[in-house]
Amino acid sequence: MSSILVQVIVGGLLLGAVYALFSSGLTLIWGMMNIVNFAHGDFVMLGMYVAFVVWTLLGVGPFLGAPIAALVLATLGIIVYFGLIRSVMKGPMLAQILGTFGLALLLRYSVFWGFGANFMTLPENLVGGTYDVLGIRIQASRLLAGVVALLVTLGLHLLLTRTSLGSKMLAVAEDSTAAQLMGIRPDTMQAIAWAIAAGATGIAGALIATFFYIAPTVGETLGIVAFVTVSLGGFGSVPGALVAGLLIGVIESVSAYWIGAVYKDIVVYSLFLCFLWFRPQGLMGKS
């Protein structure tokens, strides 16, 4: 019994790390520009397909697939910024929401058209098998995703707090007119933010693809959790998203095990709403 409970918690932590990983890109965009990117889940989906194509064409796993996915998605991020975001940011809030939502549908159905509706998966043991540590089973692919989630979080955090590029990005986020007066180009900074965020999302997709199914609609399934993770963690707070992801993963796992799988969302979302009642800025967001 108790060993199974440990397994439930370990499983929850690994799941939570994955939530954190695919939320990190969203929190950056959200915090930097006050734009809710509804296409985020579909960015993850694209990362998964890039990993799948890399594996099909070159026969290699995420060690090459993830960097390629990062590059492809970063490029897409820049295109999306200049092609769509820059213009909708001038419009009302509703235009921003519908703009990214339209982008989500465009990406989803393009993939649908190109790859078909069939589900795909990467081979089971692409990233090693499953470790057995004192009776607790840990999948290498999920562990890798967890470790990368920590590294990406740390990397983004250091970038924003310790580098001049990060300071410039934060300056633009704070007050873009003032930043402009200081000689910072808001356009460049925001394009870089989109590239980094989309690139991180690409890495997340490529890693999740090693243990999840790949389908055009997978972004819908994963997208919602990302929004909850980011708002619980605090808008724009990268470490917040990590803590929130882990928390949600463990709560989901434990409540699904103890109370039942159909009730886990009720538990997670009611705790989430209660928390926002007391602390609307999230775990680590600024009030």
Binding site: M1, G11, A117, R137, Y213, A256, A261
Partner: protein
């Protein structure tokens, strides 16, 4: 600005003219609405269903004398309507009961279809058929198994597939035979998704088993578009049931198979209730991790040269996959509907309804392994039946039960990977 308005009006007018033009030119086609999940999580099943209907239309609209006694195959078009062609108007239900309902409304009121087929997910068949009932348009379903669908006293709804209670009896008899052969079947767990399909099938299995002195020890409900199923698998691992029955759609079924392998959990006997576990894309992706799973089916491709074999060849060209049980049942439903329209010799809803009620197809007129097609007062096919198949090599399901229809003996215990 004013010029734009004028231009818009001209465009609208020309589109309207074009639409009425095509409508009158298509007098000799019979339009049938087909509502399936062409996007959303069940899109894989929906796209295969669409290919199955397109195959049926190919067979009906062109002469296929090689297909034996299959109705409508011999000559081109519907003989009863002077060789009229059949056309399917496809609509995407997006996996949502509300969207399905709107599509049914649109097909009936705007596309003026003479009958409807669909909608794969029982929960959506429920809402779409309510619309056809209201408008008095015949609705033939070949694939949704929730018992409730034919318990609503509907006059326009006809269902060709066996239903959950038929399958529950098949599972029961099969498990009894397995018990007689030495397998343990006392402790049964049922894992099901929580929409109309999973909930109703699970409750029917539970009650049929209970009536026969078998109890379900563990009942695990979950949401089909979940991101994770570790906890559910661990619940099973903790209770160690002898038999696990899975009632799942495709995406969740793939997650279960992968998670069971990751957590090293294998029940001694695992059964699936069709749906996700019959999806060709599940077998392609994780079939090798679910070797030995039992499933229900009413379809087998048959020996080379047989009508079902030839139909599979046509289908394969359209979809790239072999005909699976779900797609075959969708196709069978469509054939039954077109056969009724042909016999009615009319596209009047009343006449099609009367013809559907008089349907009496024999086994050699079917592509499915049913004992025939004949509807009771509720619109349910009373001659539907099924068999148990097993994914022994992880690539192809083979009929294993009952003995007289089996190609090979069932293999126990569940092998997994």
């Amino acid at each position: 600005m004013r010029f734009k308005h004028v231009l818009g009006l001209i465009c609208a007018a020309s589109i309207a003219v074009a639409l009425t033009g095509t409508a009158s030119a298509q007098d000799k086609t019979v339009k049938i609405g087909a509502i399936y999940p062409l996007s959303g999580n069940a899109a894989s099943a929906g796209v295969h269903g669409k290919a199955a209907i397109e195959t049926a239309i190919d067979i009906i609209n062109n002469a296929h004398p090689e297909l034996g006694n299959l109705p409508l195959a011999k000559n081109a078009g519907l003989a009863g309507l002077g060789g009229a062609k059949v056309e399917a108007i496809f609509a995407d239900n997006q996996g949502s009961p509300a969207v399905g309902q709107n599509q049914a409304l649109r097909l009936i009121t705007e596309e003026k279809v003479v009958a409807l087929s669909g909608a794969y997910q029982s929960g959506i068949t429920l809402t779409t058929s309510a619309i056809s009932e209201k408008y008095g348009i015949p609705y033939v379903n070949g694939e949704s198994v929730a018992a409730s669908l034919t318990e609503r006293g509907f006059k326009w709804f006809f269902r060709v597939t066996p239903v959950a209670s038929d399958f529950a009896k098949i599972y029961l008899d099969f498990l009894k035979d397995m018990k007689a052969a030495g397998a343990k079947t006392d402790n049964i767990a049922i894992v099901h998704e929580n929409t109309e399909y999973g909930t109703s099938v699970a409750s029917v299995i539970t009650s049929v088993f209970k009536e026969n002195g078998l109890s379900i020890a563990q009942d695990i409900a979950y949401s089909a578009n979940t991101t994770d199923v570790q906890s559910q698998v661990l619940q099973l691992k903790d209770k160690k049931p002898d038999v696990v029955i899975m009632v799942s759609y495709t995406s969740d079924a793939i997650l279960y198979v992968k998670t069971m392998q990751a957590l090293d959990y294998k029940p001694p006997l695992m059964m699936a209730d069709n749906a996700g576990f019959s999806d060709p894309s599940l077998i392609k992706t994780v079939g090798k991790l679910a070797q030995g799973i039992f499933n229900r089916s009413s379809f087998s491709i048959g020996p080379p040269g047989s009508p079902t074999f030839l139909i599979n060849e046509i289908y394969k060209k359209k979809s790239g996959d072999d005909l699976d049980d779900t797609a075959a049942r969708i196709m069978q439903g469509f054939f039954v509907l077109c056969d009724a329209i042909d016999r009615a010799g009319s596209t009047e809803p009343d006449k099609i309804q009367t013809a559907l009620k008089a349907t009496d197809l024999k086994p050699d007129q079917l592509i499915m392994g049913y004992r025939g097609v004949k509807f009771d007062d509720k619109g349910q096919n009373v001659l539907a039946s099924g068999l148990v198949i097993q994914l022994q090599d992880g690539e192809n399901y083979i009929p294993v039960w009952p003995k007289d229809r089996a190609k090979t003996a069932p293999v126990l215990p569940y092998k997994g990977w």
